[in-house]
Symmetry: C2
Subunit: 214 residues, 2 copies
């Protein structure tokens, strides 16, 4: 994980585009495409070619003028920047619908994300093939004995902050939060949120807006 | 759904903040809070008070200088702008982990989103309490007989575009897409994406970035 660039200056918008570039390049690589221009990438991401070149500039370039990018090399370089060359150990707290769906989704493993355990206040009611389910009281012992990189919070809104506090106390420094609440965490803890209801409301906004336009 | 404002000028960033204001206000309303200042709202959303006032300006204000906002009134006004005063009929295409998790999530109903049916290529393998599961061949007949506002695509990546095409042909004009692929759809179709893997990659980017900083 030795990356030599000045990422501190990278804007939020660029950070959010990086995974899109990565997935796009991975798909091209699977299709056997070896070269891609910034124009091609721009079309696929619905942005401008100059935006693509500017984004990659933040990381020192990657391409030669008038030549385009070598797909596997660019994919690998972006993968390194995104921290995808590592394997990650994960746990899920909350064994409800979302927690179970995430635990059952096998695609994470292909990207190096291993979900090793699920914790719930009612572990006996939950069965997940191939992943052990423990009660919340086991969390502390588990984390002492099993180095864990990322904790997924998939609890109800009301429980999320207290679960977050417990995880942070137990040494977790990266949280992927599916509960619809803004979590308070120390500065050195990375929290990334997925808020499904907010996305649904953006959809209805666009539907409503469209209706009034036509 | 008669909204009288000039929403065409509303930026993407403002649109994405609207659901956050809405949820925040709903929580305050549940707590019994009647008045809120732009400063309060700004703190809760991690933005500046002038940003809050500027955002609401896009919709004609809502508040009086030095007085703050009346929580239930502001919540209701934002709800109308977001199209949340309607009931919506939804279907889910794809009965895998994500499709089933969404179907089983009862919270949508409280916000007026009714998931009425799930479609899958292998319907017999899927059981969801209280929601019928049909084969893909029934989609056309179902949509003819059951007015549907929103289709959720929760298929594999490879199937998503063809499912999208079918839905659009059958008259669907709003799609909530969980498949990790950019869907091509006509201009009058609203597509809102949730890309979980991209969010996870942003998390690992921040983890990796943090590591190199310290």
């Amino acid at each position: 994980m030795s990356i030599t660039n000045t990422k501190k200056t990278v804007s939020e918008a660029v950070i959010k585009r990086l995974p899109r570039y990565y997935r796009c390049l991975l798909n091209l690589e699977h299709l056997g495409m070896n070269k891609v221009s910034s124009k091609n990438l721009a079309e696929m991401l619905d942005i401008t070619a100059s935006q693509v070149r500017q984004d990659f500039c933040c990381f020192g370039g990657f391409g030669q003028q008038g030549y385009g990018y070598v797909v596997p090399k660019l994919r690998e370089a972006l993968g390194e920047i995104l921290g995808l060359n590592s394997n990650y150990n994960l746990i899920i707290v909350g064994g409800g619908n979302i927690g179970r769906a995430l635990a059952n989704y096998r695609g994470f493993k292909n990207d190096g994300f291993n979900i090793n355990a699920v914790f719930d206040i009612n572990p006996d009611a939950i069965h997940i093939d191939g992943i052990p389910v423990f009660g919340m009281e086991s969390l502390s012992d588990y984390l002492k004995n099993n180095p864990t990189d990322i904790a997924i919070i998939a609890t109800q809104r009301i429980a999320a902050q207290s679960v977050c506090n417990t995880l942070v106390e137990l040494g977790i420094r990266s949280i992927w939060n599916f509960a619809p609440v803004k979590l308070e965490a120390p500065q050195d803890v990375v929290v990334e949120n997925i808020n499904m209801i907010e996305s649904l409301f953006v959809l209805t906004y666009r539907m409503t807006n469209k209706t009034t336009e036509s």
